[in-house]
């Protein structure tokens, strides 16, 4: 399969690339903001158009990218909150909405959420809302996608690779190595499930 990974240089993205390359049967298109085979800014409509114009048709689109706003609720503004809506949420939704027309029949879309969807953390209100919205999007989109195209969501707990930097924000949370998270993306791409949230490590 020809598989596009948007966010290929991130911790999860690199693990997904490694897992898929290991199968020895896929052509990987690495996409990043400033690196990879093609560059894209997912919050920019024209940039995403240019991405698909360059890539051509693909069999799978994986997004392991998107920024959220973190900060205390009592100081949060609507503008703060909108950052996560425009970036991690609408950015990934934009990839899916445009990507549906660039997928071959039976292709798949796999987006990325996170445990904060289900378990709030301090300063994480925007993250919970955005990740929950992604779950809603995937659940509903799975019911409408044409031509056998599937869509799933991978929702990992804190990455083991990030535990030193971010562990204080996740007190008592278990962590999961990115290599284990990568399996869920392979399950989504090579498997048959549709409209599912693959929770990894929780």
């Amino acid at each position: 399969m020809k598989i596009m990974i948007v966010g290929a240089s991130g911790t999860v993205g690199r693990a997904v690339v490694a897992e898929l390359e290991k199968q020895g049967k896929h052509e990987i298109v690495r996409v990043g903001r400033n690196s990879g085979d093609i560059q894209v800014d997912i919050i920019d409509e024209a940039s995403v158009d240019a991405l698909f114009a360059k890539s051509g048709k693909v069999d799978a689109i994986i997004a392991t990218t998107g920024n959220l706003f973190f900060g205390p609720l009592v100081e949060m503004t609507a503008e703060n909150f909108n950052q996560g809506l425009q970036d991690k949420l609408l950015g990934q939704v934009r990839l899916a909405l445009k990507g549906q027309h660039m997928l071959n029949d039976g292709g798949s879309i796999t987006l990325t959420s996170g445990i904060i969807a289900d378990e709030p953390i301090y300063q994480g209100v925007n993250a919970t809302a955005v990740n929950a919205a992604l779950a809603g999007f995937v659940k509903a989109a799975a019911c409408e996608l044409p031509r056998g195209i599937r869509i799933n969501l991978v929702s990992p707990t804190m990455l083991t690779e990030s535990a030193e930097a971010y562990g204080d924000f996740f007190p008592g949370f278990e962590s999961v190595p990115a290599a284990r998270v990568a399996l869920a993306y392979r399950k989504s791409v090579e498997g048959i499930q549709n409209g599912q949230v693959f929770k990894v490590g929780y």
Copy 2:
């Protein structure tokens, strides 16, 4: 209690006003886009500031308002999808973020979702995502709100009053009268629960 209802002229809003007035102990501030005691455009930051400047401190804020985008997924654009993000989602979130500072100690915020959060309908991808995001927002915000302020979400199935107009979009869905939905808002305002989704009629 002094209770602000944003969306007071809508089908649900009117029922909530009636239910709360029936208790004979509340002062109701009716807010609407073009009607009521105070007017507001919830997608406009300055308009929401002006709303609270006019209302002064309140004991409860209820939002029964917000527009979504409806349309087939295969034709949907990111701009379409963003309409619901800016209106029903960020509009209600803006009321909550600004409203937290205008609530007396022990006050409450009650927002409005809908059954499409849990049960997708054709052309309703934006609605599922937005309503799911509201559930995430409420769940996380409840963990951070100060001074005993609570927040809940009311999620009704199709209204009986809307069944003739919208019933074809909800095949096989039961409907619920707005008067029954209104009870959930009273439960949220006068009760003690926090961070809950009150599903009504499903």
